[in-house]
C-alpha cells in the first residue's frame, strides 16, 4: 500500500518538478510548484512526519507560493523570456543541462548500486507514530534546540526588515 502511494506520488512529483522548470509562463510554473509542495507533504506523511506535512502545506503551498504569485501580479510581466542568441555565453544552456544531468548521475551512481536498508513501517508501534507529532517536535525544539530556535526568530526579524527596506520606495 505504501509502495503504491510512493510510486504515484513520485510520478506526480517528478512530472510537476519538470513542469516548474520548463514552463514559459511564470504563473503556471508557480501552480506546478504548489502541486510539488503538496506531493512533498504526502511523502512526509508516508515518512511519519505528520506535523511537518501540515507545516509544509501552510508555509510552502500557503505562504511562499502566494508570495510568488503576488510578485508576478505586481511586476505585470508581459514580455516572454529572452530569445535564444541573446545569451551571454552561447553554450550556456546546453552546459546547464549537462551539469544538471551530471549532478543527477553522480547522486544516482552512489544510491542505485544497492537496494538500501528498509525503512521502519509506519504502524510498527506507538513510538514511531509519535515521533512526528507536534508535542514531540515542540519538546525537542524548546529544550535541546532552544538556541537555534531563538536565532531562527532573529533571522526572520532580519528578513522582515530587509524585505521592507529593499522593496519600499526610495525617498530622496
Amino acid at each position: 500500500m505504501q509502495g503504491v502511494m510512493f510510486i504515484v506520488l513520485a510520478l506526480v512529483t517528478l512530472f510537476s518538478a519538470l513542469m516548474v522548470i520548463t514552463r514559459k509562463d511564470p504563473v503556471s510554473s508557480i501552480l506546478y510548484l504548489v502541486l510539488t509542495f503538496f506531493c512533498f507533504a504526502g511523502f512526509y506523511v508516508l515518512l511519519g512526519a505528520q506535523f511537518l506535512a501540515a507545516v509544509q502545506i501552510i508555509v510552502y503551498a500557503g505562504a511562499i507560493a502566494v508570495l510568488f504569485l503576488f510578485v508576478v501580479m505586481m511586476l505585470n510581466l508581459r514580455e516572454p523570456e529572452a530569445e535564444e542568441g541573446k545569451e551571454l555565453i552561447p553554450i550556456w544552456k546546453p552546459l546547464g543541462y549537462a551539469v544538471g544531468i551530471g549532478v543527477g548521475i553522480v547522486f544516482l551512481s552512489y544510491l542505485a548500486s544497492s537496494p538500501g536498508p528498509a525503512i521502519p513501517p509506519l504502524n510498527g508501534g506507538d513510538e514511531i507514530y509519535a515521533m512526528g507529532r507536534a508535542d514531540f517536535l515542540g519538546k525537542a525544539l524548546f529544550t535541546d534546540f532552544i538556541l537555534p530556535f531563538e536565532i531562527a526568530g532573529v533571522l526572520l526579524l532580519a528578513a522582515v526588515l530587509g524585505a521592507v527596506a529593499l522593496a519600499k520606495k526610495k525617498r530622496v
Partner: protein, 101 residues
C-alpha cells in the same frame, strides 16, 4: 513492493538535479528562485527520510530550521526581484551585467 531508504534518497536526488538544471538554464529570476525552492525541498525530504529511518527526531527539527531559512530567503529574494524590476523593467538575468568586467 517494500520501500527502502534509497527510494526516498533517489527521488530527492532526481528532484535536486531538476532544481540544479532549472537554476542553470532558465533566465527568469522568479523561476530560478522556484528551482532553489525545489532543491531545498529535496534536501528536506532527505533529512526526514533519514530521521524516520534512524528513529531520531533531530532531522525533523533541522527541517524546521530549513523551512525558516527558505521563508526568509524567498522574502528577501522576491524583494530583490521587485527592486531589480523597478530599476531595469525586466527580470531576465541576461540584462543584469553591471558587475561584468
Amino acid at each position: 513492493m517494500e520501500l527502502t531508504l534509497n527510494h526516498y534518497l533517489i527521488l530527492s536526488a532526481i528532484i535536486f538535479a531538476i532544481g540544479v538544471t532549472g537554476v542553470l538554464t532558465r533566465r527568469n529570476v522568479l523561476i530560478i528562485l522556484m528551482s532553489v525552492e525545489l532543491m531545498l525541498n529535496s534536501a528536506n525530504m532527505t533529512l526526514i527520510a533519514f530521521s524516520h529511518y534512524l528513529q531520531n527526531i533531530d532531522g525533523m527539527v533541522f527541517v524546521f530550521f530549513t523551512m525558516t531559512v527558505a521563508a526568509a530567503e524567498v522574502g528577501i529574494g522576491l524583494a530583490i526581484v521587485v527592486t531589480m524590476f523597478r530599476n531595469k523593467g525586466t527580470i531576465d538575468v541576461g540584462n543584469f551585467n553591471l558587475l561584468k568586467g
